[in-house]
């Protein structure tokens, strides 16, 4: 019996030490944090603060309760001469450990309510010119987006249809969501945004992206920079996200690591940007302006934030991915002008427009009416 007590104590200490140490492996930030860096100044920080606020309370209860269990296991283990105390309970103690947690729990709830209201019940006005309105209408297993086009009216011939989105830095974005087939869920981890795209109704979510995702060509990795941090850099574009063909200087390649076998084993992909062959100079964004620069001087390429589907939607659900590109406002304006011009010229295929008109306007749950 004594041996098993030691076994329990040492095992329990080892496991709890391991659990407690896990957050120490975390990457960056003042608090141990594995979350993707937050880039949504609309409410992302508030979500993170609430997360870590709960973290502190939970950690206190975790160490209190688990510590007490460990203490009991060691101090009150059965041994020669030890007699348990015959106690049935204490009303005073029961009241104390009911009332205190109750107050804490209600406090946590109240602390969340305001942020929840600001995220889900208070939206930027669609009529505000500073709001970018994007309709999102996914189908298995693709993300489809629509901008209003030059006439600023959805449902007209010049609507812009895309499979990834561009948004201007620091401006509010309003995403309206529905679905033409099954339930999908629009998840942008870096923006702390998630909302189901539910067929038969329209959901709304909003956010403000306040940091750029750029690719560091030398370091071969994505970095997240503020407007000030990026101002002195020379940033180019790839064919995925350049406003016009003139801006394209790079190709994003998603190549497998090493041999196929190794890639299959690890499942890893490596992303890199290669210069478009025969290009010697490219347009870059530098000091708040479009400029020409030798391709060798380009330090960064505008990269993207990932969009995932967070609701099981069928066979290729795992691969239902899209992107949010955050542009400087002037770059966004140039991109938007280019895609509007293209849309006015070619229009959208009939299958696309037909799908977009399925029940979209009727899909209006009661609560949307309330906040309108």
């Amino acid at each position: 019996m004594k041996g098993s007590a030691k076994l329990l104590a040492s095992l329990a200490v080892a496991v709890f030490a391991l659990l407690a140490a896990m957050p120490a492996f975390a990457t960056d930030g003042p608090v141990p944090n594995w979350m993707p860096q937050n880039v949504n100044s609309g409410y992302g920080n508030r979500v993170d603060d609430l997360y870590f606020g709960i973290y502190v309370i939970v950690a206190a209860f975790f160490f209190l309760t688990e510590g007490l269990i460990l203490f009991c296991c060691i101090a009150f283990r059965a041994r020669e001469g030890r007699k348990a105390k015959y106690i049935h309970g204490s009303n005073v103690i029961e009241v104390i450990w009911t009332v205190i947690p109750a107050l804490i729990l209600i406090g946590i709830g109240i602390a969340q309510a305001g942020t929840w209201h600001d995220i889900r019940l208070s939206f930027p006005k669609e009529s505000d010119p500073n709001t970018t309105v994007i309709q999102t209408f996914p189908k298995q297993y693709e993300w489809h987006f629509r901008y209003a086009g030059a006439d600023n009216q959805f449902g007209s011939a010049d609507d812009v249809y895309t499979t990834s989105i561009h948004v201007p830095l620091g401006k509010k974005v309003l995403n309206k969501l529905s679905s033409s087939d099954v339930i999908h869920s629009y998840f942008v981890p870096h923006a702390r945004v998630k909302l189901d795209a539910m067929p038969g109704m329209m959901g709304r979510t909003w956010y403000t992206m306040d940091k750029y995702s750029v690719w560091d060509i030398k370091a071969e990795k994505m970095v997240i920079l503020t407007g000030e941090e990026l101002a002195g850099k020379k940033v180019g574009w790839s064919i995925q996200n350049g406003p016009t063909r003139d801006h394209w200087g790079f190709i994003l390649s998603e190549t497998m690591i090493d041999a196929k076998e190794k890639a299959i084993q690890s499942g890893m992909k490596k992303y890199s940007y290669a210069a478009i062959p025969n290009k010697t100079t490219v347009k870059v964004w530098h000091q708040g302006k479009f400029q020409d620069a030798p391709i060798g001087e380009v330090e960064f390429v505008f990269h993207r934030y990932e969009v995932a589907c967070a609701e099981l939607c069928g066979m290729q659900h795992y691969n239902m991915r899209s992107f949010v590109y955050v542009d400087p406002p002037e770059v966004y304006a140039a991109w938007y002008a280019a895609v509007c011009a293209q849309a006015a010229k070619t229009g959208a295929p009939e299958t696309t427009t037909k799908r977009w008109h399925l029940n979209w306007d009727k899909a209006h749950p009661t609560w949307n009416k309330v906040i309108d």
Binding site: L7, L8, V15, L19, P23, N33, W34, M35, P36, V47, L50, I54, V58, T65, L68, F76, R77, A78, K83, A84, K85, I87, H88, E94, W97, T98, P101, A102, I106, I108, G109, Q112, A113, I119, Q140, S180, D181, V182, I183, F187, R192, K194, L195, D196, M198, G200, Q265, G267, E306, A308, C309, L312, G314, H317, Y318, L358, N359, P365, T366, W367
Partner: protein, 603 residues
């Protein structure tokens, strides 16, 4: 005191002693003996535990090494619904694995083992009855559950594969037969299986509730019932009130699938741009409301009996009465009351009216309270005890410490703004595995080792028990704790290949580590299964009360006779009269005469 207690207890049940049938079929197949039916549930649910665990192993292989051939059995699974031509798990196969793992574990393992096995075996013994109130109905419950399990498994082999819409079966994915592979016959089989198992559950709940209300032995007042039985009583209430709602949902979805109705299909829906042809005046959100109205209470069906088992073990091996018995009972009923008004927290991101989100957040915060109070009471039970680290006790302590982690992690998900980020991530997976595996399964393991002597007349092997617990405790934490971090990093659940996402690639090492720990965890369970079956025939013969426990089942020999008690016992005190300081031994059985002392346990 005892005479007084007897006055307001139920009158003695009739003294008719049932006779054990002789024929093989009546004795072993269609038995109506609650103990044998309990064992039938036990063996069947352990079989499904191995199946469900095996599916989890396949999932873990894919998550650690996406697209690579499954070792050992990859060749056998080539070109199946699970695996592609190279023997690697296919995307649609992964969805089926996710769905069937969850469904099997919830509907065919945890609920049946807790309610079917422990409920059946223990309730009549704990209340001092010779059997349940409706023995034939009891057999019917099992014989609905068993074919339901077979129908579940058969769904893998019909049409183009098993159900693949998750255990939550959200329409329109689960509703439209052409929305994905496995959504036609596989999904119909799944629905029918859940429907049957739901009926089994309703019949069981009704039976147990009647047994507890009507068949308590003289002197067995409500406050003298062991907490195991109280937990089963509250669970039976849950089953009676919530499961019919699930059965209705299954029926509605079945009507959608088989007869072209549109309960959950809105207008103008199209798959691959082709209209579905349904009239479409229903709504998918309706399913979520109905489903979670059952399935959140189901979460408590999954944990409450485990709480009961752990309560008995913690008291017995601390050699102390349970701290705050009545508060424990009130907490359980509180969980039940609140359990019916928190379902919306599964739907915070569904597009449901956000004002409802605020209301459900507050009710969810409050339901943490009774669970928290129970944890404090369990710790207080350990306090100043004389703790014996037997194998059942190690499992009970693991239950307590792991359930605390599972309960605490629920707070993040209850908080609506925080839930936006962690909803549908591995955070949720970590949370519910800490509750259902860390909580319930540890309690089940502890309970099985504890009551094994009463079931089979032998003790389970101690050395194998310690090895199993040690490996399980360590690897369980190595598997599920890092999943909190995966969730914090944003890793989505039900996704077969995380490495497709740039933001998840840096933490792929964690998936690999988790999978290796999971393989050891899976292997460790085989030790338990081996120990169980080996000990049935080769274990050390058990005495009547090997754990020196105070409840009624320990007053007879091990195993108990067919009729349980030669004479219906008269109960004089509560179930946890340990270390009273009266007499030579440190426990007093519930049926010992009042002169034996131990006055506090129940009135």
């Amino acid at each position: 005191m005892s005479e007084h207690a007897q006055d307001h207890a139920h009158p003695a049940p009739h003294e008719h002693i049932p006779v054990e049938p002789k024929g093989f079929i009546r004795k072993y197949i269609f038995s109506i003996d609650h103990k044998w039916i309990g064992k039938q549930y036990l063996v069947t649910s352990l079989f499904f535990l191995i199946v469900g665990g095996g599916l989890a192993m396949l999932m873990r292989w894919q998550l650690a090494y996406p697209g690579s051939t499954v070792p050992v059995i990859g060749g056998l699974l080539k070109n199946s619904w699970i695996c592609g031509p190279e023997g690697a798990v296919s995307p649609e196969g992964f969805n089926q694995l996710v769905t069937m793992h969850g469904s099997i574990m919830i509907f065919l393992v945890i609920i049946p083992i807790l309610v079917g096995a422990f409920g059946n075996f223990l309730i009549p013994l704990h209340v001092g009855a010779r059997d349940v109130a409706f023995p034939i109905l009891n057999a019917v419950s099992y014989w609905l559950y068993f074919p339901a399990g077979l129908i579940f498994l058969a769904s893998f082999f019909v049409g183009d594969g098993g159900a693949g819409s998750g255990w939550t079966a959200y329409p329109p994915l689960s509703d439209l037969n052409n929305s994905a592979p496995g959504m036609h016959y596989g999904q119909v089989f799944w629905l029918f299986g859940v429907f049957l198992v739901g009926f089994s559950s309703i019949l069981g709940g009704m039976n147990f509730m009647t047994t507890i209300i009507k068949l308590r032995a003289p002197g067995m007042t409500w406050t003298r019932m062991p907490l195991v039985t109280w937990a089963q009583f509250v669970t039976a209430l849950f089953q009676l009130l919530a499961t019919p709602v699930l059965a209705s949902a299954m029926m509605l979805l079945m009507m959608d699938k088989l007869f072209g109705c549109s309960f959950f299909i809105p207008r103008d829906l199209a798959i691959a741009d082709a209209p579905t042809g349904r009239s479409g005046n229903g709504h998918p959100l309706l399913w979520q409301h109905i489903f979670w109205f059952y399935s959140h209470p189901a979460v408590y069906i999954l944990i409450l009996p485990g709480m009961g088992l752990a309560s008995d073990l913690l008291a017995c091996f601390s050699r102390k009465p349970i701290f705050g018995y009545k508060v424990m009972v009130v907490s359980m009923t509180g969980i039940m009351g609140l359990g019916f008004i928190v379902w919306g927290h599964h739907m915070f991101q569904s597009g449901m009216d956000p004002r409802l989100g605020t209301a459900f957040m507050m009710s969810t915060m409050l339901i943490a309270l009774p669970s928290g109070v129970k944890c404090f009471n369990w710790i207080a039970t350990l306090w100043q005890g004389s703790i014996r680290f037997t194998v059942p006790m190690l499992h009970a302590l693991s239950f307590l410490s792991m359930f605390i982690i599972g309960g605490l992690s629920g707070l993040w998900m209850a908080a609506t703004p925080v839930d936006i980020f962690i909803h549908d991530t591995y955070y949720v997976v970590a949370h519910f595995h800490y509750v259902v595996f860390g909580g319930t399964l540890f309690a089940v393991f502890g309970g099985l080792v504890f009551w094994f002597p009463k079931m089979y007349g032998r003790m389970m092997n101690n050395a194998l028990g310690y090895i199993h617990w040690t490996l399980t405790f360590i690897t369980f934490n190595l598997v599920f704790f890092p999943m909190h971090i995966l969730g914090e990093a944003g890793a989505m659940r039900r996704v077969s290949t995380h490495t497709i996402y740039e933001f998840l690639q840096p933490i792929q090492w964690m998936n690999v580590m988790i999978s290796h720990a999971a393989f050891i965890l899976g292997f460790s369970q085989l030790i338990f299964v081996f120990n169980l079956f080996w000990s049935m025939y080769r274990g050390k013969k058990a005495e009547g009360n090997p754990w020196q426990s105070a409840t009624l089942e320990w007053t007879g020999p091990s195993p108990l006779p067919y009729h349980n008690f030669d004479k219906v016992p008269v109960v004089h005190r509560g179930p946890y009269e340990y270390s009273t300081g009266v007499g030579d031994k440190d426990w007093i059985s519930q049926d010992e005469p009042a002169s034996a002392g131990g006055g506090h346990g129940g009135h």
